[in-house]
């Protein structure tokens, strides 16, 4: 994949920033408005998928090395289970929302205890892993190219 024309490239590099911002917004406000970690993570992934379609796989690989993405994937999942285990440590029960009354008021960004943190962990995890799968699906094998039998 060598990418598309200069117009597409320029526009998508601008739009990418907006999409990333939108994804971050969806993740951070997931406990107040529709959306959340999952939808936001998919949006984050789609921004890099857009770059990949416009510039080609090699460019994105330089911008965002795959080993880093797969580490982010593991990190997000690990963060989420750590939130659960911290609940066990501080709250006495697995997954207890041990921060719920500690800060913030309802309907503010800082509220709902561990829920925003869970959203961030899931967003990170989902974004990284979906980008990873689309990237590996599109670069692993070119269409029409067969293994020798």
């Amino acid at each position: 994949m060598q990418g598309m024309t200069i117009i597409v490239k320029t526009i998508s590099s601008w739009v990418k920033v907006l999409i990333v911002l939108f994804g971050i917004y969806i993740i951070l406000f997931g406990h107040l408005t529709p959306g959340g970690g999952f939808a936001g993570g998919v949006i984050l992934a789609s921004s890099y998928v857009l770059l990949m379609l416009a510039f080609g796989g090699e460019f994105v690989k330089k911008d965002l090395p795959l080993s880093l993405v797969s580490k982010l994937d593991c990190l997000g999942a690990f963060m989420f289970i750590m939130i659960a285990i911290l609940g066990l440590v501080f709250g006495g029960t697995f997954f207890v929302n041990f921060l719920v009354d500690k800060y913030g008021q309802p309907l503010h960004l800082l509220s709902a205890g561990t829920i925003p943190f869970s959203n961030i962990a899931i967003g990170l995890k989902v974004g990284a892993s979906l980008f990873l799968v689309i990237f590996s699906l599109s670069t692993c094998c070119k269409a029409g190219e067969l293994d020798s039998h």
């Binding site: 408005t33 529709p34 999952f38 309802p106 309907l107 989902v126 799968v133 590996s136 699906l137 692993c140 094998c141 190219e145 067969l146 293994d147 039998h149």
Partner: protein, 120 residues
């Protein structure tokens, strides 16, 4: 009736997944079944004249507004279940498609009868 339409969709998907011989068609059938089940689950929680289960500032202004919210909000539980189910279906879709692509690479076709013949 709407439930029956969901069930019809489910059966169309089942037919496609069981009868068709093309790997991509089988995946398509499974996707249709998943849509049908997701729709069915969300419909279970719907109320006539319901509102989305999201509280905003206007609902907190008075007790009456909050009571009104409580008496007309749709069921959030099936929505949570479907959110999980959508993710699961995306996961199995990714897995199935990577299997399809690899099998295509090895055999040069998506037709499972052809694949069985090549395997001997």
């Amino acid at each position: 009736m709407l439930y029956a339409l969901c069930f019809l969709l489910f059966m169309i998907g089942l037919y496609c997944a069981v009868v068709k011989k093309n790997m991509v068609k089988i995946v398509v059938g499974i996707l249709i079944m998943e849509y049908a089940v997701n729709l069915f689950l969300v419909m279970l929680g719907y109320r006539h004249g319901g509102i989305a289960p999201i509280i905003d500032k206007s609902h907190l202004e008075s007790q009456a507004a909050l009571n009104n919210f409580v008496s007309s909000s749709v069921d959030p539980l099936p929505q949570a279940l479907v959110l999980t189910a959508i993710v699961i279906s995306l996961g199995s879709l990714a897995l199935m498609i990577s299997l399809c692509i690899r099998t295509y690479e090895k055999y040069g076709t998506f037709d499972i009868t052809e694949i069985r013949r090549l395997r001997g």
